[in-house]
Point group: C2
Chain length 422, copies 2
């Protein structure tokens, strides 16, 4: 009985990157390269765009040390993309092109590493077998710093940004406390999370109770009440001498308008984009005249591999590995999940869920994680968050800087004569 | 022959704090507590204000573990102050009050931990013996993230912020590189340094040459040429696919106007304070339309003890220790300095310099550290900077967060009936 040659695998990174998405890549690639059921392991350069343009990277031609090094290298080593496939009815050409490329390279496994939108793309690809007659096993690999995927206890990428934000809040708060007597009394730090307050909530780990910083967290889940906020700032400066505020970029007025869209104009009269921290800081200055400082962590927070959570790195690797194990068992259209098995000591395992149940869905901060006054987190939130930031997983250093790896990115020879316009 | 009781020591933190100013405190306090030539060791609560208001902390009543823990705790554990003593002629009352408090507590040693302004205060206090007949030995302890004190190879506090900035630039650049194909093409990071570009220059350690990020550094020392800058951004995006810009808060137009004062108004028509990063990012958008992100590190950078430079921590401790050793030898009106003894491998030692030679003076980035095009650093700068960010000195962690110490801050019993209004 002649066995057919194993089919090849395709891996791609999608959406905003994180400190540990490459750790998932490492889990996928190491596991796939070791598997006898998988032939070649290819990655798309810049995600799904690499598939559409037949721009594939041969992972087998990277040194094992570089693949191993992905575990401690932040951002998307293969390039990511913000590119959402439309529905089959709307853009059949893209799906036909995908099949053309997959067929040319005998791709039988599709591992797609991303967030909500990406799980939707993965779901659509998983249906190619049924819809367009091309058999493929498709497994999503969860990744999002926003922590808003449903059916998984947490999302790889979140634990590390949570740790960064909690550490930075604790450190900056010590700075403000030192200076408050004669200088800065209010410090505002802006963090990511346009729709869900998970990242801002993680800042709450920096202190306990209302007297410890951060004194105020502004969450997207809690409609912003300017008067109550300003009163609380004043109370806090009076009681504690200073006030540390962490604001989510998604903080919004009751009518849904983002605080960041507060009508700030630049010199040319254009609405100034981005930056809720300066808006909040100016608001405090207008009302109370306190000296303030503000910070916008932006990409620093999600790229901060130097202060990644060990648990997060391990989970990121594990979901990558599990995706391949599911794939070679022929389990199609699923996403591995993190399952919380015990609280103290924290134990976790891997489960999986149909892609259809996670695609395009968002998990917000549950009400019982938000303190009654809306400005902080509860003990329940603390119990949930604490294990996710546990442990340090320092990268190696060279000359004082993290020695991150770079892939060679050896391209797979093109087999198609046609190109594809993105 | 009866020996007189040893006189007491006063230590205070001054000006903006840093990730390692407490390491200097640790050096001062441990050395002073061990010395038989020094009686009690007191610290001013909120710097010199603590002296003026007779608000003294008894360092001898802190546990040795807490004093040791200061070595890994950022910011000013005793409280700092932005408070500059005027000249004796202008405000004799302050000096008379200082002497009143010092006499009441038999303070014979004054250790003042700060930057340029603070060395000026220390100098004035050192002259109290001659000017007002109160004998005191006064030694400055250098501290400034700005690295702009003259006569010392570097300033404790700088190496750690340099490391933070270089690490963050490297990490964020990997993020932007991942995203650039379909999303963010330009990333702007704002760092401290209102008058000197040392911190911005340190970002240059993240990459080598014009093709590696940071592609553009905007220094206060190089007058900003908008046209040349915008042309370079475009060239960079064309050549590399993306552009990482690090801008010093002190970057300025040829007429000296800060870029940050670019006429941005808030909703009420007031000039918006601070934030050169959004100004630069908007400038790029206006000209080229590239998608951008920007970050303002602000206090996060100077409080980031979690990624402190080991060399910096050791030097911060050493200048504290040296200050006390100079003091007990009766060397008045000096500041310990860091002396670079060898380049590769880097070796350093401690020297000292009269306070009169450092007070109120600023050391800018020398011209040979600035690349000919004004947008980067030279090999000479790299040779200077590299040893200062070397080595990691991680704090201990508990539940995923740095376990920083807090002083008890036991107050010294007041001996004066009079208060003092600041």
């Amino acid at each position: 009985m002649k066995k057919s040659a194993p089919r090849n695998a395709f891996y791609a990174q999608s959406g905003g990157v994180s400190a540990v998405i490459n750790a998932s890549a490492c889990g996928v690639i190491e596991t796939a390269l070791r598997s006898k059921k998988i032939g070649k392991v290819y990655a798309g350069r810049h995600g799904i765009i690499g598939a559409l343009t037949e721009d594939l990277i041969d992972c087998g031609r990277e040194s094992p040390a570089v693949i191993r090094g992905l575990k401690y290298t932040p951002a998307g080593a293969f390039g990511s993309a913000r590119f959402k496939l439309k529905g089959l009815a709307e853009n059949r050409a893209e799906y036909e092109r995908l099949i053309e490329v997959f067929r040319a390279h005998d791709i039988g496994y599709f591992f797609y590493n991303g967030g909500n939108d990406s799980m939707d793309t993965a779901l659509k690809v998983s249906q190619l077998g049924a819809s367009l007659g091309y058999p493929i096993t498709c497994v999503g690999v969860p990744k999002t710093v926003d922590n808003d995927l449903p059916h998984t206890d947490c999302c790889p990428g979140f634990g590390s940004v949570a740790k960064y934000v909690a550490v930075s809040t604790r450190e900056a708060a010590l700075d403000v406390a030192s200076m408050a007597r004669t200088s800065t009394k209010v410090f505002v730090m802006e963090v990511m999370g346009r729709h869900a307050g998970w990242i801002a909530a993680a800042a709450g780990l920096a202190g306990k109770g209302e007297r410890e910083p951060p004194h105020i967290i502004l969450l997207p889940e809690v409609p912003f009440d300017q008067q109550r906020f300003l009163a609380r700032v004043k109370q806090c400066v009076t009681d504690c001498g200073y006030c540390v505020i962490v604001v989510s970029e998604g903080a919004a007025y009751p009518d849904g308008r983002f605080l960041a869209d507060a009508g700030t104009k630049d010199a040319f009269g254009h609405t100034q984009l981005g930056g809720v921290a300066p808006v909040v800081a100016n608001m405090v200055r207008e009302a109370h005249g306190y000296k303030y400082h503000w910070a916008v962590a932006d990409y620093l927070q999600r790229a901060a591999r130097h202060i990644a959570s060990k648990v997060d790195v391990e989970q990121a690797y594990a979901v990558g590995k599990a995706a391949v194990e599911l794939g070679i068992k022929g389990v199609n259209a699923v996403m591995p999940t993190i399952v919380r098995k015990a609280q103290r000591p924290y134990r976790w395992g891997i489960g999986h869920v149909p892609l259809a149940e996670v695609a395009n869905k968002e998990k917000k901060l549950p009400p019982d994680y938000i303190r009654a006054d809306g400005f902080g987190i509860t003990e329940a939130a603390r119990r949930y968050l604490e294990p996710l930031v546990a442990g340090e997983a320092y990268p190696p250093y060279k000359n004082g800087l993290p020695d991150y790896v770079h892939i060679r990115g050896v391209p797979v020879r093109r087999r198609l004569k046609t190109g594809f316009k993105i």
